[in-house]
Amino acid sequence: MSVTAAIVERPPPQARGWPRSRIIGYALVSLWIAFGLGIVAYLVFAWNAEFFAKYAPAYLKGLEVTLSLVAISMVLGAILSVPVAYGRMSKNPVLSGLAYCYVYFFRGTPLLVQTFLVYYGLGSFRPELQTIGLWWFFREAFYCGVFAFALNTAAYQAEILRGAIESVPRGQWEGAASLGLHKLQTLRKIILPQALIVALRPYGNELILMIKASAIVAIITVYDLMGQAKLAFANSFDIQAYIWVAIVYLVMVEILRHAIEWIERRITIHLKR
């Protein structure tokens, strides 16, 4: 035993000199840096105070629409994901079958198609929707967007939740049961705190994906960030309109990424040594 214990696996020693992989690596990194500098240089060179003054307020309004759309959809989706996740884990074949089909459909079709189906598809059932009094909701493009996005993200969030809960070892349930804890108490006090640590990263990814996917609503006439960019481009034929919008999305995603990393550091403090 002592002999094998002495052989510690170490990482390979740092390569010296200029092996080919290092040259290629440096070349690629400098290519990317040059590309980034090129964009910065373009923006400095093409800086157009008039463009900025004219469209910046519109972009801010669009940003507001994007953020509220994503926030509302994420919260509604999170609420809806609980029964779906429950159905997915249920032993009842009807419940689990229904939940499976729901997740299968919403994860298996493009969000763009789902949004179109809700907006134009349901839109053609106006008389029926009017009789049941739901037309006021489906008349508005923003609500249609929220509806489609919430249904979509609920499917993904249900799978995240299910995976996270199932990642907690069975022994935890059994231990809690032997201490006389009720099933719900076990879930709330023992399982979920551990599961949500696992779920944090996937939730963060889902949020980032939703922010980027929300640009889809621009084609169902919602003036979100992307919609405003399209409008600015339509009026100016200036490609800057899209470069700026890309930068705004990039900044949003970057802020979120750091926020999620910070939260993760906080909630895993007890696991670090």
Binding site: Y120, G123, S124, R126, W135, R139, A141, I219, T221, Y223, G227, K230, L231, F233, A234, N235, S236, F237, I239
Partner: protein, 261 residues
């Protein structure tokens, strides 16, 4: 040795003539939208048809060049021209000052007015700013109709669509009080079962030339004056030799060229 030389000579001569032939058979790539019937439309089997397409073919025959067609979303049609995806846009593009900063235009090849359509049971009486106050108007973005609507109907909600079929669908669905588009495009749609819901509400009057421009022209990349001149000569030629009238009558009961400008 001599035979080999002869073969080589013959071969190079053949290659030379081939090269010359190819130079004469220059192909011109024409970009169009394909969602703007009856001017340009993609059929179910992927064929481009319509007035723009027939005019473009007639012009290419006149200019003795071979033409191929590329369908491109309206939003990105000018950037695609600039990026060299095709050499000319024949897509009912109105000649406007903003576009003329990015591309060069030929003379107009037709000019039809802008109009508004509304459901048949509409309470709207006309198409002025006051008539449409508080109403929702749908228009395809990046069009002269959109520019006019957003400048004129400032008390209405203007909804922007990627192309005409979407705005028409939403008018039929009842999400919109009116839509603005080319009168010919609207009329054609109103004649279909999908358009049975609606009618022409009226045409804005006057139609300011600084927004609508003198009509639809062919756009080419900036500085390609030769191509512009060739197109202009070809337009004049098909106007003179009756080819234009033949195509016009195939699609319309009236003259879409409009007044001489």
């Amino acid at each position: 040795m001599r035979i080999a030389l002869r073969i080589a000579l013959a071969a190079s001569a053949a290659l030379l003539t081939l090269g010359v032939a190819q130079a004469q058979e220059k192909t011109l790539r024409i970009g169009t939208e394909g969602a703007y019937p009856p001017f340009n439309n993609l059929t179910a089997d992927g064929q481009l048809v319509g007035f723009d397409i027939d005019i473009a073919k007639a012009l290419c025959d006149e200019m003795k060049v071979k033409c191929t067609f590329v369908a491109q979303d309206w939003d990105g049609i000018i950037p695609a021209l600039q990026a060299g995806k095709f050499d000319a846009i024949v897509a009912s593009m109105s000649i406007t000052p903003e576009r003329a900063e990015k591309v060069d235009f030929t003379h107009k090849y037709y000019n039809t007015p802008s109009a508004l359509a509304a459901p048949k049971d509409t309470t709207l009486k006309g198409v002025t700013k006051e008539d449409l106050a508080g109403k929702t108007v749908g228009v395809a973005t990046t069009t002269t109709h959109f520019n006019y609507a957003s400048k004129t109907y400032t008390d209405s909600t203007i909804k922007g669509y990627p192309s005409s079929p979407e705005e028409q669908a939403d008018l039929a669905n009842g999400r919109l009080d009116a839509i603005e588009d080319d009168i010919v495009v609207l009329s054609q749609w109103l004649d279909t079962p999908d358009g049975a819901c609606c009618k022409i509400l009226g045409t804005p009057n006057p139609q300011p030339v600084e927004i609508f421009g003198p009509g639809a022209g062919i756009a080419v990349r900036k500085g390609e004056t030769d191509l512009v001149n060739q197109f202009n000569a070809a337009i004049d030629a098909i106007r003179a030799n009756g080819k234009y009238k033949e195509i016009n009558d195939k699609y319309f009961k009236f003259d879409v060229y409009g007044g001489e400008s």
